[in-house]
């Protein structure tokens, strides 16, 4: 889209400026002759407006030779050549305009000597270059506005992803099932019921506390995950086993909050819960050369039907990482021989940078 042709207000201002320029030519050009101003203006103003449209073509030169990526010499040559071609065309228009005016019975104009082609070139080249400069300016302005909008959009996407993650966190079915377990324990083992109430309360409180922060340590995130798994272990009994292995450097790494939790929840819901014999959810975390790698692994039943919501948690995490830093983060899911694994990796550039996401 042409930045001036495509914008009515800009086109108006642009043509008005050229109109004024045309009248100015009339005043200046009258100097040597006895021509009245009106007759001179009749000659210069339409020509100025015609050249206004010719100069709009400099936009395509700007597009073909972007300021930042074109060597100066090539930039100069292409602009000057375009300017000379444009002014030559203008000179031809000027030469053609004189007999037309004469035919329209303004014989006063025809009596003068025609304006030399060199005058068109002398005026046309700088005017064309000036117009190209304006186009470059507008292009730069639009670029910066676009960049601003993109930044804003990605911020909105990041917030949205976080909200979604938080909402997914407060999974109602997890609460319903946990309450049902507490209900059961209240009859048979009141002490265990109390412990589970406490655990559930701790888990919910920690979820809210971590969710309110921009960054947490992986250690804090693992604490949350272990609280969650302890509650699920009451529900699933011996079917759910847990193994967490994280190096001290990994635990100290900074991560966005509640990033791991949905992955572990998936491992339980779609992996362990769908297997008769259950299995072990394994979480491993290590840090090498500034890159934190977290693995969540669980066995799954390859024949199990796909349940609703499968892949949703993974997609949320992926979206959050992308909004955070698409270059230094990654998430990959793979399945081999009844084993499902998600590998998260968070690079240095992000984890050592400023405190805002």
């Amino acid at each position: 889209m042409h930045p001036i042709l495509g914008n009515r207000a800009r086109l108006g201002v642009y043509l008005a400026a050229w109109g004024v320029l045309g009248l100015l030519f009339a005043v200046l050009g009258r100097g040597g002759t006895a021509r009245p101003f009106a007759a001179a203006a009749l000659y210069t103003a339409p020509l100025a407006l015609a050249y206004a449209f010719v100069c709009l073509s400099s936009w395509w030169v700007c597009r073909a030779a972007p300021l930042a990526r074109t060597p100066p010499l090539r930039l100069g040559i292409s602009l000057v050549v375009a300017a000379i071609v444009a002014s030559a065309f203008w000179a031809m228009l000027g030469a053609a305009w004189t007999p037309v005016l004469a035919a329209l019975a303004f014989d006063a104009a025809s009596s003068d000597a025609p304006v030399p082609a060199l005058a068109f070139l002398a005026l046309g080249v700088p005017l064309y270059l000036f117009s190209a400069a304006i186009h470059y300016l507008i292009a730069a302005f639009e670029d910066s506005r676009r960049a601003e909008r993109r930044a804003l959009e990605s911020q909105v996407v990041a917030r949205e992803a976080e909200l979604r993650a938080l909402r997914a966190q407060l999974n109602p079915h997890f609460l319903f099932n946990s309450l049902n377990s507490i209900n059961a324990l209240a009859g048979s083992d009141p002490e265990a019921a109390r412990r589970m109430c406490e655990g559930l309360g701790d888990f919910l409180r920690l979820t809210l506390a971590l969710g309110a922060r921009d960054w947490v340590t992986l250690g804090e995130e693992l604490d949350l995950v272990e609280k969650y798994l302890a509650i699920e272990q009451v529900r699933f009994g011996s079917r759910l086993q847990v193994e967490v292995r994280a190096t001290p450097e990994a635990r100290a790494s900074r991560v966005p909050p509640l990033l791991l939790q949905p992955l572990v929840e998936n491992a339980v819901k779609h992996g362990i819960a769908a297997r008769l014999e259950g299995g072990t959810v394994t979480i491993g975390a290590e840090r090498h050369a500034g890159t934190l790698t977290v693995r969540v692994t669980n066995p799954f039943d390859p024949d199990a039907p796909h349940r609703q919501g499968e892949g949703l948690g993974l997609e949320n995490v992926r979206r959050r990482l992308r909004a955070l830093d698409p270059r230094h983060t990654s998430i990959a899911a793979s399945q081999t021989a009844g084993c499902f694994e998600v590998v998260l990796s968070l690079g240095t550039a992000r984890s050592e940078s400023g405190g805002t996401p």
Partner: protein, 257 residues
């Protein structure tokens, strides 16, 4: 003295079973005849033990509650007990007496039991309840499992005490045999009590086409179709099996492209 209410509990979570057991103790007429931790156990147990009522969880490993119901011999009434409310409609479509949500309340279970007693009292004891999962209800069940735009992704088959779960993408062909459908998959044959048309309808029409009154074929298995006589065609499958294709069946296949 009220008659004894024979109850089976099916839930994969130990605390959930414990809670039901605990609540049921307060009802003097209830006798717990089976306690199963998954769908397989339930189908097996209810083959040998007669129950009046099954308290059935929905989301369980291998076989979900609806699949268990599909495989049960006619007889017991069913009350679903689950944390998910989205299966309620389906539950009543398959004639469940009640649908209870976790966390489960003592009074809510008592009310469900009362409904069960009334149902049992209003029918002849020998005839079992109105839920007949083994026969007519089965096709209804399959239909209801489909829902809009959803098709079966596996077929459950009961073979004596064994239960087979056959993923539909392993199925080569379905063949009508009297009251059964023979399901050919992975070089094995499974028999299921259901009309071929009903089962065919529950499958994704983009993948399964009924090519003949007695045959529904997985289109991915077809290698080529041969014309053997006027209007008589056979489909050659990947394993060399030859399946007759009727005129309408051929038209259906052609529509698929």
């Amino acid at each position: 003295m009220t008659p004894v209410l024979r109850v089976a509990i099916v839930d994969d979570e130990p605390p959930a079973r414990a809670l039901l057991r605990d609540y049921l103790q307060a009802h003097a007429d209830v006798e717990i005849v089976a306690e199963c931790a998954n769908g397989f156990e339930a189908v097996k147990a209810l083959d040998t033990v007669r129950a009046d009522l099954v308290l059935l969880d929905v989301q369980m490993p291998k076989l979900d509650g609806f699949e268990v119901l599909e495989l049960l011999a006619p007889g017991p009434l069913v009350v679903f007990v689950t944390a998910y409310d989205e299966f309620a409609l389906r539950a009543f479509e398959v004639s469940a007496v009640d649908y209870l949500l976790k966390p489960l309340g003592r009074d809510r279970l008592a009310a469900a039991l009362e409904r069960v007693r009334q149902r049992l009292g209003s029918t002849t004891p020998a005839g079992g309840g109105p839920a007949q999962p083994g026969s007519e209800a089965a096709s209804q069940l399959v239909a209801s499992r489909r829902g809009p735009g959803r098709f079966l992704d596996r077929i459950v088959v009961k073979d004596g005490p064994h239960v087979h779960v056959v993923p539909v993408d392993r199925v080569d062909v379905l063949e009508a045999q009297d009251d059964y459908v023979a399901i050919y998959a992975d070089g094995k044959v499974h028999l299921k009590t259901q009309p071929l048309a009903d089962l065919s309808q529950a499958l994704d029409p983009a993948r399964f086409v009924q090519v003949h009154r007695s045959y529904t074929v997985n289109v991915e298995r077809i290698v080529r179709i041969e014309l053997v006589a006027k209007d008589r065609r056979i489909a050659i499958l990947r394993d060399g099996r030859e399946i007759p294709v009727s005129r309408t069946g051929y038209a259906r296949l052609r529509d698929k492209g």
